[in-house]
C-alpha cells in the first residue's frame, strides 16, 4: 500500500517538475528574450513578497469568495431548472434553443451591458460568474437527468412506492452524481471567467492583480496571479472529487 501511494505521488509530481524544467530550459535556451520570461525562482520570490507585503491573501480570498458565491448561486438555480428540462420533454423542446443561444455568448462580451445594468460593484462580478456557472451547470444537469432509465422507477412502483417516495428514494439518489458533475464543470468555467469579471474595476482579486500588473508590465506578478488561480482551482476540484467519491461509493468505475 505504502509503495503504491508513494508511486502515485511521484507520478502526480513528475509533470510539475517537468514543467518547471521546461520553463528554465526556455529561459536559458536564448530563443526568447530573457526579460520576457521571469525565472521560476524569481516568480517564487515575488510570490513571497506579494504574500508578506502586498496582501496577496486578500486577493486570493476576494477571488475565491466570488467564484464560490457565483458557482453556488448558479448551481442552486441550474439544478432545479436542469432537472425540469431533463425530466419533461416538452420543457426541453420549449427551452433548449434559448439555453443554447445564451450559453454560446462569452461572458466577456456581456461585460459592457452588465456595467450598464448592474454597475461596477461586487454584484456585477457575481452576475458574470453566475451567468457562466448557470449555463455550464444546467446543460450537465439536463443531459444527465434525461438519461435516467425508467426501469428503476418502474421497479419502485411495483414495490408500492408513491409519487413522493419515488422522487425522494429513487430520483434524488440518481440525480446526485449529475449535481456533483455540474458543480465541477461550473467551478472550472467560473475560474476561467474570473479574470473577465474582475475586469470590471475590481480593487482586489487575482484577476484585478493581473490586470494591474499588465498595465505596468510586471510579468512576474502576472505569473504569480496565473499560478495562484490554477492552484486554487486545482484544490477546489480535489475537494469536490473527494466529496464525490464519498457520496458515490456505489458507482461503478472502469478504473478504481
Amino acid at each position: 500500500m505504502d509503495g503504491s501511494v508513494a508511486r502515485r505521488f511521484l507520478l502526480g509530481l513528475a509533470p510539475w517538475v517537468g514543467a518547471v524544467a521546461l520553463w528554465y530550459g526556455v529561459r536559458w535556451s536564448g530563443f526568447v528574450n530573457a526579460s520576457l520570461i521571469p525565472a521560476p525562482h524569481q516568480v517564487a520570490a515575488k510570490f513571497v513578497e506579494l504574500l508578506l507585503q502586498e496582501g496577496l491573501l486578500f486577493d486570493v480570498f476576494a477571488s475565491t469568495r466570488r467564484v464560490f458565491l457565483g458557482v453556488m448561486l448558479g448551481i442552486l438555480v441550474a439544478v432545479p431548472v436542469g432537472f425540469l428540462l431533463g425530466w419533461y420533454r416538452p420543457a426541453r423542446t420549449f427551452a433548449d434553443p434559448m439555453i443554447n443561444f445564451f450559453r454560446a455568448l462569452p461572458p466577456i462580451a456581456l461585460i459592457p451591458l452588465v456595467i450598464v445594468y448592474f454597475g461596477v460593484d461586487e454584484v456585477a462580478k457575481l452576475v458574470i460568474l453566475f451567468y457562466a456557472s448557470f449555463f455550464a451547470g444546467v446543460i450537465v444537469m439536463y443531459e444527465g437527468v434525461s438519461q435516467i432509465t425508467p426501469l428503476y422507477i418502474r421497479v419502485a412502483q411495483t414495490l408500492g412506492a408513491g409519487e413522493f417516495e419515488i422522487f425522494r428514494k429513487v430520483i434524488i439518489p440518481l440525480t446526485v452524481p449529475h449535481i456533483l458533475t455540474a458543480l465541477r464543470v461550473a467551478l472550472g468555467v467560473a475560474w476561467a471567467t474570473l479574470v473577465a469579471s474582475e475586469l470590471i474595476a475590481a480593487q482586489r482579486g487575482l484577476g484585478a492583480m493581473i490586470q494591474n500588473a499588465s498595465t505596468y508590465f510586471l510579468l512576474d506578478v502576472i505569473y504569480v496571479g496565473i499560478i495562484c488561480i490554477g492552484c486554487i482551482a486545482l484544490i477546489m476540484d480535489m475537494i469536490l472529487r473527494r466529496i464525490s467519491s464519498r457520496l458515490l461509493v456505489w458507482q461503478e468505475r472502469a478504473v478504481t
Binding site: L151, Y152, R154, V155, A156, Q157, T158, L159, G160, A161, G162, E165, K169, V170, P173, L174, V249, W250, Q251, E252
Partner: protein
Amino acid sequence: MSTASGIHRARFDHVSLEFATPKGQLRVVEDVSYDINDGDFIAVIGPSGCGKTTMMSMLAGFQKPTSGKVMFDGHPVAGPGPERGVIFQEYGVFPWLTVKDNIAFGLKLQANHVPVAERDQICEHYLALMGLSDFTNSYPKHLSGGMRQRLAIARAYAVKPQFLLMDEPFGALDAQTRANMQNLLLNVLATEGKTVMLITHSVEEAIYLASRIVVVTARPARIKQIIDVPFTYPRDESLQERPEFGELRSHIRELVMSEYRAQQAQLRPASFSE
C-alpha cells in the same frame, strides 16, 4: 399447488395492443384471452420479440391495451401496484443501495405497512434464502450477474406479493445457477403459495416450473395453444428425465419452432416476396 382453486385473479379479455410507428400502426398483441387462476403457474412462451413481455407489461400496469380489458382481482388494471410483484429481465437492482437496503426498500414504503421490528427479520430471511448473507452491506457493483438477479428476486419476494410477474428472470444466468434458481422458486412457491406468470423462451423451464403453458405466435402475439402440464407438485429435477417430459418438450418445441420460422419469413424484405 396444481390444484388451482378456480377463482381467477387475472384475466386477459380480447386484449389487443398497437403502437404508432413511423411506418404505421404496429400490432404487437392481437385478441388474446385467458384467465390466470389463484395458485396457477402460467408460463408464456413464444419466439423472441413476439410481444410476450408486452402482455406481462399490461398486467403489471405499465402499458394499456388498445382494445379489450386486462383485469386483476375483478378490476381493470390501472397502474402498477405492490400486490403484483415484478421481476424484470434487466434485474433493476438499485445501484446506490447496499444489498440489504435493496431488500428493505419495499419494506420501508408506506403502502406495505411493515412494522420496523419485522423489517430486519424479513431481510435476514431472504438474504439467507438467496445466499447473499456474506454480501449484506456490499453494493451491487460487487455482485455477479447471478447474485444481482437473486437480489432482484429477494427484493420482490420480500414485500410478499401474492402474484408474481417474471420476465425471463433466469435468462442471463449460467446453466448451474439457473437450475438452482428454478428449484428455489419451486420451494418458495411450495411454502408461500403464490400465483405466477412467467415469460420465458426456454421450453424446459416452462414445463419444469409451470402448471399451464401459453404458447404464443410470432408478432402480433396471438394464442397458439394453451397446454396443461400434467405433472404434480412438488417437482424435482428427476422430472426432466421422464419420457412424458420429453414428449411434451418435443410437442411444444415444434409449436415454438414453427412460429420462429414464421417470424423469420416476416423479417424477409417485402419487395422480394411480392
